[in-house]
């Protein structure tokens, strides 16, 4: 990136430069989620690329082998996608109806980005599962998922809490808790066949 920044509307340049800018923005927001501080970055410059990447990654990892239709209790790709996006939309509508002053897409952005710890938990669980099933295996996965679940909730609360009237924060945080609980449960009970 030694060259000066071009105007974004310049059609003559190759695409890598705006792409790098976007990727850097997404990466910066990932860091904000991993080390949650009270900052406005996620809210000010919202984008939905990060949530999309995370959602697709999670759904791909949670997908069951399509040939394995006997134990069909696991989620399919579309199911995870639908759960994440409709869950986020429901929570956003709820927080707006409770009197929050956050915009629709800002809230979607925050909720989507805060799935990052759970995606990391899914990666760790898959690696741990390679070692074979067993009670120790389960305990390790349970511990990892619980820690990441708490991290997600803390991260999203740090961003969303300020947008709610102070006496109604608990009402706005409870559906977030349920949402991440359902995702954590899907991750914890995932068994590859």
């Amino acid at each position: 990136m030694a060259e000066a920044e071009e105007s974004p509307g310049d059609p003559g340049t190759a695409s890598p430069r705006p792409l790098m800018r976007d990727l850097k923005a997404v990466g910066k927001k990932f860091m904000h989620v991993l080390y949650p501080r009270k900052s406005n970055t996620l809210l000010r410059d919202w984008d939905l690329w990060g949530p999309l990447i995370l959602c697709v990654t999670l759904a791909l990892m949670l997908q069951r082998d399509p040939a394995d239709s006997e134990k069909d209790g696991g989620p399919h790709f579309a199911e995870v996608f639908v759960i994440v996006w409709f869950g986020a939309v429901t929570i956003t509508l709820n927080s707006k109806l409770l009197g929050g002053n956050i915009s629709f897409f800002q809230s979607l952005c925050v909720l989507g980005y805060c799935i990052l710890p759970l995606t990391v938990a899914m990666l760790i669980c898959r690696l741990v599962l390679l070692a074979g099933p067993g009670p120790v295996n389960f305990m390790v996965r349970l511990f990892v998922v619980i820690v990441m679940f708490a991290w997600s909730i803390v991260a999203s609360t740090a961003f969303l809490a300020d947008s709610q009237p102070p006496n109604r924060r608990a009402l706005a945080v409870y559906p977030v808790f349920l949402f991440y609980f359902v995702i954590s449960w899907m991750i914890l009970t995932f068994t590859p066949q």
Partner: protein
């Protein structure tokens, strides 16, 4: 949107120039319309700003071009007899007008249906209120001569339905339910929301027939809070698999929340036959739903428990509900612990 603000703006025009700025503020303040056309100032994504800027620049260019074209066309009209230029101008104007009209109609329809402000008064609650209503839903009140008050809010019931969905998912996973056509999540959501909305509508219809004084919103709120008892019972009994315990909780906790709903309905209905019909139906549906939720996902765990207990227990004691009765009292606590431990072992083994 400007269309909703226009009547009030018109009414205020006579109030003087100091109120002139009020119309602009109406759109931004206090409205929760999902306004995807004009983003409010709180959302300032750089990507979106660039996109808007670009759009505006392009529009200005097009306008400038259109003006230049129109000017040029007019000059040409002046020169020739102008049939061609005139037609072009006319068609352009017609297209422009159609676009404006269509856009206006679409934005009006959008602001009418996508206006979530309709639901806002039903979410106007405080945490203390929700807590007290949750506790009150378990306490039946005997005063039936005077219509009892029902809080018309939707936050509590909606959250309880979602909680029930989460608990149901937990129960389905623990009992290794296999759903062949459909998904676990879809089944859980369909069951809970179907019950809440369907039974509310049905009881509301019966209430209409029986001349009971209750609105649809109140019925939704009443049944929603009645699910609190279900959540408690299922949360406990999905983790401690004992039939006797479940029946006890079913009668006690399920019974209490049903009695509460029945008392409220009785206080709002006149006539013994109507009261019997309405309250009998509600009580039957509510209690049977809890029974269904427990047993639909419990059978599989039973089968596995029986297999695990194996040769230690003689065949006559394989029926789980008889185990506590047939064992001596001293072994009861260990049996409960064993049952729970076995359930956990089942979960571990399946992972």
């Amino acid at each position: 949107m400007a269309t909703t603000a226009a009547p009030t703006g018109g009414a205020r025009n006579g109030a003087g120039p100091e109120w002139g700025g009020f119309e602009e503020n109406i759109q931004g303040g206090g409205s929760a319309v999902i306004d995807m056309e004009n983003m409010d100032d709180t959302s300032g994504s750089s990507f979106e700003d660039m996109g808007e800027l670009h759009q505006r620049l392009r529009e200005e260019e097009v306008d400038a071009d259109a003006d230049a074209d129109a000017a040029a066309a007019e000059e040409e009209d002046g020169e020739f007899l102008g049939m061609k230029g005139f037609k072009g101008q006319l068609s352009r104007q017609v297209a422009d007008q159609m676009w404006q009209a269509g856009k206006r109609q679409a934005s009006r329809a959008f602001s009418l249906y996508a206006n979530i402000d309709i639901l806002r008064p039903y979410f106007d609650v405080e945490p203390a209120q929700v807590r007290s209503r949750l506790l009150e839903s378990m306490i039946p009140i005997k005063m039936v001569n005077f219509p009892q008050k029902i809080a018309g809010e939707l936050y509590g019931p909606l959250m309880l339905v979602f909680t029930l969905v989460a608990i149901l998912l937990h129960g389905m996973k623990t009992s290794d339910t296999i759903i062949r056509e459909g998904t676990l999540m879809g089944t859980a959501i369909g069951t809970c929301f179907g019950y809440w909305l369907g039974v509310s509508s049905f009881i509301y219809f019966l209430a209409y027939l029986c001349n009971a004084q209750i609105t649809m919103l109140q019925m939704l709120a009443l049944l929603g809070y009645g699910l609190f008892g279900h959540c408690i019972v299922l949360f406990i009994t999905y983790n401690i698999h004992l039939h006797a315990l479940f029946y006890l909780f079913w009668l006690l906790v399920g019974g209490l929340s049903t009695m509460r709903m029945v008392a409220v309905l009785v206080s709002r209905t006149v006539g013994p036959t109507q009261r019997l019909l309405l309250c009998g139906t509600l009580a039957a549906l509510h209690m049977l739903f809890l029974l269904y939720l427990h047993f639909a996902y419990h059978k599989v765990v039973e089968g596995i428990l029986d297999t695990l207990e194996g040769p230690n227990i003689p065949p006559i004691q394989r029926v789980p509900r008889d185990i506590p009765a047939m064992l001596p009292a001293a072994r009861l606590p260990t049996t409960i612990l064993n049952a729970t431990a076995k359930a956990i072992a089942v979960t571990l083994q399946s992972h």
